[in-house]
Symmetry: C2
């Protein structure tokens, strides 16, 4: 199953405007304005000017919050997921994450905080990072029964190709779907039914604890796709009728 | 990964001589000679005349036993696996299985005997039957870490495409390889390393016990392929260099 582009010019448009370039423009712009995201509860909010808002939308980070929370009409707030915020802070190094006292937190503090809110955070982030570094667009996958969905480019150009399950020996997968065949089979059917492939990213730790960012260097990602198959396919009877 | 034919004419030869036709010739010939296979210990042996021996070899059932066990030089013995013998007896209905008293055993007796030798027999047979009915050539897969390997046609024409793991809720898979990620990953790597795809056939029971042949109607097979994936594949950087 290859990418399903939306409309006949979508692939050409996507090729002409690579995701890596958009992300790198966003990165420069946010660094230039010394951008800060406010971490509060389960919520991370980033203020963006109109150029940054445009780049955030084109690179698919966060969700714009449409009711204006600032008097300045050039400003727009974006709500970032934990993985998105950490990626922009720690990997792209283009934002700082601040607490309610407006003081920047260091990476270890943010890691610890996010892990305390969601014990799976280290594994989810490792998976998110893995795909984003390869220029996949990664969005929440809850509606398809996965942690993420992955797009080859912006969702306005292309349908998502993969439903991503994240698993690990330590943490299992979030819902134990890989341990019970019927659940796995369900996940595969669901993915297939919406023309996506099930992608399992398995995170293996190599001795490092997941309680600090050193987990990122001390772990690796294995990637498997799981697809339905049919014994009939490509067999002699079918080929005769071709 | 499609079929890897052996030599440039192999595909045409295979197409011109469909497996279903060879099996059906074998079936007729064995019925005509009222053939019997002797079940003794873990061993099932079938006597074949030269035409049948040729058809058994072309349809990939059993292993010829080269040291002649009969004075008649036109005769050849074949050693059949349990699944092969049961398939020829119960599905093709072209041989009878006899005990050492030379009395034909009925299907339930054979089922019970084979299951007592190998508790996984009902699941292995269900998987074997499933693939053979779709004209796949099915051979033992031990050397690739699976229960079976599946070929699109005779192994002299084509390499095996699938390493087949058989699993079930009741019986697990033979070695628990699907429960532990590192083992599964090993199996996928091993299959990929020999240019085969890992095919998991999962047998679900619908209430029927596996202690009689009614299990075959009271169970179903789900088919999944598991393959390695790489986040790099088909991404923008690769496409630029094309």
């Amino acid at each position: 199953m290859g990418p399903r582009w939306k409309g006949k010019n979508a692939e050409a448009q996507a090729l002409a405007d690579p995701m890596s370039k958009i992300v790198s423009q966003l990165q420069s712009s946010l660094i230039q304005s010394d951008s800060r995201a406010l971490l509060s509860g389960n919520d991370t909010r980033l203020e963006a000017n109109s150029e940054q808002a445009n780049l955030l939308i084109r690179s698919c980070f966060g969700q714009p919050i449409w009711h204006s929370m600032t008097a300045d009409s050039d400003k727009q707030w974006f709500q970032l997921g934990f993985e998105e915020a950490f990626f922009m802070c720690y990997s792209l190094k283009c934002i700082k994450i601040v607490g309610e006292d407006n003081c920047p937190k260091n990476a270890e503090e943010v890691w610890h905080y996010m892990k305390s809110c969601n014990p799976s955070f280290p594994y989810l982030y490792k998976a998110y990072l893995h795909l984003r570094l390869k220029n996949w667009v990664v969005r929440p996958g809850l509606q398809y029964g996965g942690e993420f969905v992955a797009y080859r480019h912006h969702p306005s150009f292309v349908h998502s190709e993969f439903v991503v399950l994240v698993s690990s020996e330590e943490n299992g997968d979030a819902n134990g779907r890989l341990k019970v065949w019927s659940d796995l089979h369900c996940a595969v059917r669901l993915s297939g039914g919406v023309a996506k492939t099930l992608l399992v990213l398995h995170i293996s730790k190599h001795g490092e604890s997941d309680s600090s960012t050193s987990f990122l260097d001390g772990s690796s990602v294995d990637e498997l796709t799981i697809a339905r198959w049919s014994a009939e396919q490509s067999r002699e009877d079918l080929r005769k009728t071709k």
